[in-house]
C-alpha cells in the first residue's frame, strides 16, 4: 500500500526516461557510432529497470533488463550497431511506453513481451535478426557465438597464453552429406585432445554427441600447434567440409561476460565520467523527485514553527538581559537557523500555478465556440510557484478576466480580417516571479480599450464628471472599467455578465494583497497585469493598539500614518473627515468599530492610519502605533466565520493573539 505513494513519482520518472530513450535513440539512429549516446540510453534503461523492479512491475523490468544487455553488448563492441537493432530497441521502448500508460490507467503494466524479449536475447547473443540475411555478418556471428565464457574458462585461456600456448577458435564445417555426425565429431575431438585442450565448445559436447546441431560447430582450443597444422590434422577426418582457425583474443571476446559480472562496477565507473549532458539529465530527474504531503501536516509544522519563533523571541529577550556572551551567540545562531527554516517551510507550501492554468485551455475552447470566435491560447510560465492559499483564491478572478478578454477584447473573425489582423485572436497567459511578487499577465491582441467609449460610459453612469474627463490619463481611464456598475460591452452576454465582473476581480485581488493594472493600445489589444504576494501566510502589518487590545493592519493597504490635531477634524454629513493632502478622507475610530471597552482619552492629537482600497481612502483612528512587523496569518477557525472587518488573526511574540483588520470592509 505504501507503494501507492511512490506510484506518481514512478510514473513521472518513467515517462521522463522513456522520453529520454526516444530522444537519444533518434539521435543514435543518425549517428550510429556515438557510444556516448549508447551510454545515455543504457543509463535510462538501467534506471527504469531498477525502478520498475522496485515497484513490482516485472514485465517492465524484464524487458528493460534485456534491452540493457543488448545495449551493454553494443557499447562493449560485442555487437555492432545496425539500424535493425535500433528498430528493435525502438519497438522495445514502444512496448515500455504502453506498459507505463497501462500503469497510469490503473493497470499493472502487464504485457506479453516474450517475443520482444526473445528477439533482444537473440540480438544480445549475436544471433541474426530474423529479417537479416547478410553474409558479411557471418564471421561476426561466429566470434560472438564464442563469446560466452565463464570466469574459469577465461582464467584458463589467460594462463595458457602466459605459458606459451595459443588460443584458437576453430570452426569445423561438416559436409552436408555426412550421415554419422556424432562419429565425425568424436574423431575431430580426438584430434583436439591430441594437440591441446578444448576449453569450450559451441554447441556443447553433449549436444554434439546427440547430433543436436546443423553442420558446423566451434571450439576454443588451447594448443601449441599453428593454425595450418590444426587445419591439416582435422581435414584428415573424412566428411569434414572445411576448417576455419582463427586466433582467439580473450580480452576481445570475454568482455561481455565480464561486463555482466562486473555490472555494478561498470555502473559505478559510469557515474564518474559524467559529461555535461548527463549532468543535465540527472538534474532534471532530481528536481522531479517529490513526495506528497497532506497540507494539514504542513500547517501543523508551520504552527509548531510559530511556537518556536515565539520562544525564540523570549530567549532573545532573556539573553539580552543576562548579557552572557555564550548564550547570546547561541541565540543568534538559533535565530539565523530558524530564519532559514521559515523559508523552507514557506517554500514547501508553494505549488505551481499550472493547477489553475490547466483548466483554461478547455474553457477557452468552449468559450471561443460559444462566441463564434477563433482563439489561440498561449500559456507561459505554468510552472511558476505560488502559495497554496493564493492558488485556491486566484482561480475565479482569472476566469473572469479570461472571459472578459474573450468577450470584450478579441473581435470576431470578420472584424479582425476587416482591420487587417489574422483571423485567429491570441490570448496569452503569462506567469512569472519578480522580487517578492508573482505576476500574472493576461494579454489579448484584440481591439484594446476604447478610451472615448469608456469615458462616455463613465460619464453617463455618473462615475466621472464630464468636465474632468479630459484630465484623465489613459491609465486612470482603464481603471474605470473596474469600478462597480460599469460595463462597456454593447451587448450584455452570459459570458462576462453585466459589469459586475471586473470590480469583483479587483476587490478579490486586493483582498489577496495584490494589485491589478491595465495596459491597452486601441486596435492592438490589452494586458491585465496582476501582481500578487508570494505568500499569504506571512504578511507585513502595522501593529496598533486600541486601549488594551492590539490590532494588525496589513501594510499592503496602508497609504501612510499621520498624527492629526483635533482641530483639523471636520464634519461632513455627520461623518468625521480630514483634509489629507488635498483630499477629503473620512475618519473612523477603531474603538467605535470594534466596540473596544474603555474610556476615550481626551487627547489633542489622534494617531491615524490612512488606508486605501483602489482610489478610495479612509483614516483609522487608533491609540498608538506599535510598529511594523512580519506576522503569520491565521484563520479564526470554522466556528467563527464572517466576523465583521476581521480577516484573521496572528500570534504575537508574547504568545497573545492579535486580530488582523480587514480594511476592505471598512471602506465602503
Amino acid at each position: 500500500m505504501e507503494m501507492n505513494e511512490y506510484l506518481d513519482v514512478f510514473i513521472e520518472e518513467s515517462k521522463e526516461h522513456i522520453q529520454a530513450l526516444n530522444d537519444h535513440l533518434l539521435k543514435l539512429e543518425s549517428n550510429l557510432g556515438d557510444l556516448g549516446l549508447v551510454n545515455e540510453i543504457f543509463r535510462s534503461a538501467h534506471t527504469l529497470k531498477g525502478m520498475s523492479a522496485t515497484m513490482g512491475f516485472t514485465d517492465l523490468a524484464d524487458l528493460t533488463h534485456k534491452m540493457e544487455n543488448v545495449l551493454d553488448a553494443i557499447r562493449n563492441d560485442n555487437i555492432s550497431l545496425t539500424p535493425i537493432i535500433i528498430d528493435i530497441i525502438f519497438q522495445a521502448v514502444d512496448a515500455l511506453e504502453s506498459m507505463v500508460v497501462d500503469i497510469i490507467n490503473g493497470g499493472e503494466g502487464k504485457k506479453d513481451v516474450t517475443e520482444l524479449v526473445a528477439i533482444l536475447q537473440g540480438v544480445e547473443q549475436g544471433e541474426e535478426v530474423p529479417t537479416e540475411q547478410s553474409v558479411l555478418e557471418q564471421p561476426n556471428r561466429i566470434t560472438t557465438q564464442s563469446a560466452r565464457l565463464d570466469e574459469f574458462e577465461l582464467a584458463v585461456l589467460n594462463q595458457s597464453k602466459e605459458n606459451g600456448f595459443n588460443n584458437y577458435q576453430v570452426n569445423v564445417q561438416l559436409q552436408k552429406t555426412c550421415l554419422l555426425k556424432a562419429a565425425r565429431v568424436y574423431m575431430v575431438f580426438e584430434i583436439f585432445d591430441q594437440i591441446g585442450e578444448v576449453i569450450k565448445s559451441m554447441p556443447t559436447v553433449t549436444e554434439l554427441e546427440d547430433e543436436n546441431f546443423e553442420y558446423d560447430f566451434t571450439v576454443i582450443l588451447v594448443t601449441k600447434d599453428s593454425p595450418t597444422e590444426i587445419e591439416k590434422k582435422i581435414l584428415k577426418v573424412s566428411e569434414v567440409d572445411h576448417v576455419l582457425v582463427e586466433p582467439f583474443e580473450v580480452n576481445y571476446a570475454g568482455l561481455e561476460e565480464e561486463a555482466n559480472i562486473e555490472h555494478i562496477e561498470t555502473a559505478q565507473t559510469l557515474a564518474v565520467d559524467i559529461d555535461a549532458s548527463e549532468e543535465e539529465t540527472k538534474k532534471k530527474s532530481f528536481s522531479s523527485k517529490t513526495i506528497r504531503v497532506n497540507i494539514n501536516r504542513l500547517d501543523a509544522l508551520m504552527n509548531l514553527f510559530e511556537e518556536l519563533v515565539i520562544d525564540r523571541g523570549r530567549l532573545e529577550q532573556i539573553s539580552s538581559q543576562l548579557k552572557n556572551s555564550d548564550l547570546q551567540e547561541t541565540v543568534e545562531h538559533m535565530t539565523r537557523i530558524s530564519g532559514d527554516l521559515q523559508n523552507i517551510i514557506l517554500n514547501m507550501r508553494m505549488v505551481p500555478i499550472d493547477q489553475v492554468f490547466n483548466r483554461f485551455p478547455r474553457m477557452v475552447r468552449q468559450l471561443a465556440k460559444d462566441l463564434n470566435k477563433k482563439i489561440n491560447l498561449e500559456v507561459v510560465g505554468a510552472e511558476t510557484e505560488l502559495d497554496r492559499t493564493v492558488i485556491d483564491e486566484i482561480g475565479d478572478p482569472l476566469v473572469h478576466l479570461i472571459r472578459n478578454a474573450l468577450d470584450h477584447g478579441i473581435e470576431t473573425a470578420e472584424e479582425r480580417s476587416k482591420s487587417g489582423k489574422v483571423e485567429e485572436g491570441t490570448l496569452k497567459l503569462n506567469a512569472y516571479h519578480s522580487g517578492n511578487s508573482v505576476f500574472i499577465e493576461i494579454t489579448d491582441d484584440g481591439a484594446g480599450i476604447d478610451r472615448q467609449k469608456v469615458l462616455q460610459k463613465a460619464i453617463s453612469n455618473g462615475i466621472v464628471k464630464e468636465e474632468d474627463a479630459d484630465t484623465f490619463t489613459d491609465q486612470q481611464v482603464f481603471q474605470l472599467i473596474m469600478e462597480s456598475g460599469f460595463s462597456t460591452a454593447d451587448k450584455i452576454s452570459d459570458i462576462s455578465g453585466r459589469g459586475v465582473g471586473l470590480d469583483v476581480v479587483r476587490n478579490k485581488i486586493e483582498a489577496l494583497g495584490g494589485t491589478i493594472t491595465i495596459h491597452s493600445v486601441a486596435g492592438e489589444g490589452s494586458t491585465f497585469l496582476i501582481q500578487l504576494p508570494l505568500t499569504l501566510s506571512i504578511i507585513s502589518v502595522m501593529l496598533t493598539e486600541v486601549q488594551q487590545e492590539k490590532y494588525a493592519i496589513p501594510l499592503s493597504s496602508i497609504l501612510e500614518t499621520a498624527i492629526v490635531h483635533k482641530k483639523d477634524i471636520m464634519r461632513a454629513h455627520n461623518q468625521q473627515v480630514i483634509d489629507f493632502r488635498g483630499k477629503v478622507v473620512p475618519l473612523v475610530s477603531l474603538k467605535d468599530i470594534f466596540q473596544v471597552p474603555g474610556e476615550l482619552p481626551n487627547d489633542e492629537y489622534f494617531s491615524v492610519v490612512i488606508i486605501k482600497q483602489g482610489e478610495k481612502m479612509a483614516g483609522l483612528i487608533v491609540d498608538t502605533f506599535i510598529g511594523q512587523q512580519e506576522v503569520v496569518l491565521k484563520s479564526l477557525g470554522n466556528y467563527l466565520t464572517d466576523i465583521f472587518a476581521i480577516s484573521g488573526a496572528t500570534i504575537l511574540g508574547d504568545g497573545q493573539v492579535a486580530l488582523i483588520v480587514d480594511t476592505n470592509a471598512l471602506i465602503k
Binding site: F594, K634, L636, G637, N638
Partner: protein, 152 residues
C-alpha cells in the same frame, strides 16, 4: 473489551455553577488552565474570544454565559476544555474539571421534561453516578451557529 467500550461512556466530569456535567472523552483534546484571551469584536457575548493554543487560534466559549448563569470571576480551578468536534476546535470555559468516569450507557436517562432551567436545550441526558447527578451536554446545541448573531 469491545463490549465494555460499547456499554460504557467514558466521560470527563466538569463543574459549572455547582452542577456536574459529563463530556465524552473522545471529544476532548486537552484541558488547559486559563490563558490570555483576545476579545473578538462583534461576536456573541458568550464567545469569550480566541486564544493561542500551541499555535492554533482557538475560539473560547464561556459556558456560564452560554447557559445564562451569572458571571463569576475566574479562579485557580477555572479550566478551558478544548474540544475537537466536526472540524471545529473550540474551548469551553468551566469552573473546574477534575474527573474521568465510565458511565454505563443504559443508565443514561433522557433529560427531564421539566427542570425549570432555561438551559434544558443543551442537555442530552442525565445519569446518576455514585450518588452524583451528571448532566450530559448536547454539543451540537452548544455550538449551534444559528445562535451566533454576529453584529454587522
Amino acid at each position: 473489551m469491545v463490549e465494555v467500550t460499547e456499554a460504557y461512556l467514558k466521560a470527563i466530569i466538569f463543574q459549572l455553577n455547582d452542577e456536574e456535567y459529563a463530556m465524552p472523552v473522545e471529544l476532548v483534546g486537552s484541558i488547559e488552565r486559563m490563558m490570555h484571551v483576545t476579545r473578538i469584536p462583534g461576536a456573541p457575548d458568550f464567545v469569550k474570544g480566541v486564544l493561542n493554543l500551541r499555535g492554533v487560534v482557538t475560539p473560547i466559549l464561556d459556558l456560564r454565559k452560554r447557559f445564562g448563569f451569572e458571571e463569576k470571576a475566574y479562579t485557580d480551578s477555572t479550566r478551558t476544555i478544548i474540544i475537537h468536534y466536526n472540524q471545529i476546535n473550540i474551548g469551553l470555559i468551566v469552573d473546574a474539571a477534575y474527573d474521568v468516569v465510565d458511565i454505563p450507557k443504559d443508565r443514561i436517562e433522557a433529560a427531564p421534561e421539566v427542570i425549570g432551567g432555561m438551559h434544558i436545550d443543551y442537555i442530552s441526558g442525565v445519569t446518576k453516578h455514585e450518588d452524583r447527578l451528571l448532566i450530559l451536554l448536547d454539543i451540537d446545541k452548544i455550538l449551534e451557529t444559528s445562535n451566533l448573531n454576529i453584529i454587522e
